[in-house]
Symmetry: C2
Subunit: 195 residues, 2 copies
């Protein structure tokens, strides 16, 4: 009941690493086992299939470990523009695990798996909704504080900001880290265009 949980986590962590760098479909179980001390018997004791492990990865690792970092990246100054800007900046530039080269695990998985597995799509959508919700609250707060016109649809803006992040993660893979800076510049322009 204790040691077992450790091996389960070891499997998920290594899987996360490999899938983050090589993609879900390109990461084999044997490769995971080869780079850990876990054997195949242990793997199939904890997960009844490869797909179930993928689902556990989304809900356990990505949701429970990565998501808090996202939430923490949101400052709470009075200026909502500053808060949203810093949020994206923290995620793009300062994140301790994510790199420009390999992008964002969530974005990657959406791109690769959303059309192929409905379970995956729904699980990833759930992650997305939580982020969206937090951004929405920040928008609404700004509107209540008179920093932003109430005409704006908070949901639309929230989704738009997330869309920008997803796009930047994709473009960064081609253009390199330098692009993150020019992107953030334009993002700042956008935020200040919101009246």
């Amino acid at each position: 009941m204790f040691k077992a949980e450790l091996t389960r986590i070891e499997i998920l962590r290594k899987s996360f690493d490999l899938i983050y760098k090589n993609g879900y479909q390109a990461t084999s179980i044997d490769e995971i086992l080869a780079t850990t001390k876990v054997t195949k018997g242990a793997f199939y004791y904890h997960f009844k299939s490869r797909e179930e492990m993928g689902m556990a990865l989304i809900s356990d690792v990505m949701h429970k470990e990565l998501w808090p970092a996202v939430k923490k990246s949101i400052s709470t100054t009075k200026d909502f523009r500053k808060n949203l800007y810093k949020m994206l900046r923290n995620l793009l530039i300062e994140h301790p695990v994510l790199t420009c080269e390999y992008g964002c695990p969530s974005v990657n998985l959406i791109q690769e798996m959303a059309p192929l597995h409905e379970h995956f799509r729904k699980a990833l959508k759930k992650n997305l909704s939580e982020w969206q919700k937090v951004i929405e609250e920040e928008i609404v707060r700004a509107q209540s504080a008179g920093q932003l016109s109430a005409d704006h649809d908070s949901q639309n803006i929230a989704l738009y900001v997330i869309t920008l992040y997803h796009g930047a993660r994709n473009m960064g893979k081609v253009l390199g880290k330098a692009y993150y800076m020019t992107f953030l510049g334009e993002f700042d322009n956008y935020l200040h265009s919101l009246k």
Copy 2:
């Protein structure tokens, strides 16, 4: 010198279909052969490896067939806002081949392959640069015509627009086609915020 070119194209077209829907790494040569009348001997006569076929796919199919559609999607009215809006709208909504579910082949390949194969990254970057260039010209034209302040950096805006497209393609996979409309609404707001 004639029939041979046909089989080459048949290979590339079917490869494009499968890779577009399932991803590059998940598409096997055997699967391509199974769904065409092409044999393995023919395949390896035209391409010395799987990777070379992938490169040919980027330069031949995507560049020579998809790219003209992109270029055609750009209207040439006087209003640059209208032109850019319609460009994204055409690509997202009206494109005859691309679907919301499977996204954009270029975006997909960038996400999957840019970190893994430097050749791929460069070839995809080249595609991107052409699109960027066309958008830049539209921005510059608008600036010369006094529709837009010369303070704006045309390159940054062009990349920003492409970033938005990439993000929308990604988000669409999770949220479905309906999101394209709300996205386009926010994109329109952005365009009109450019003074």
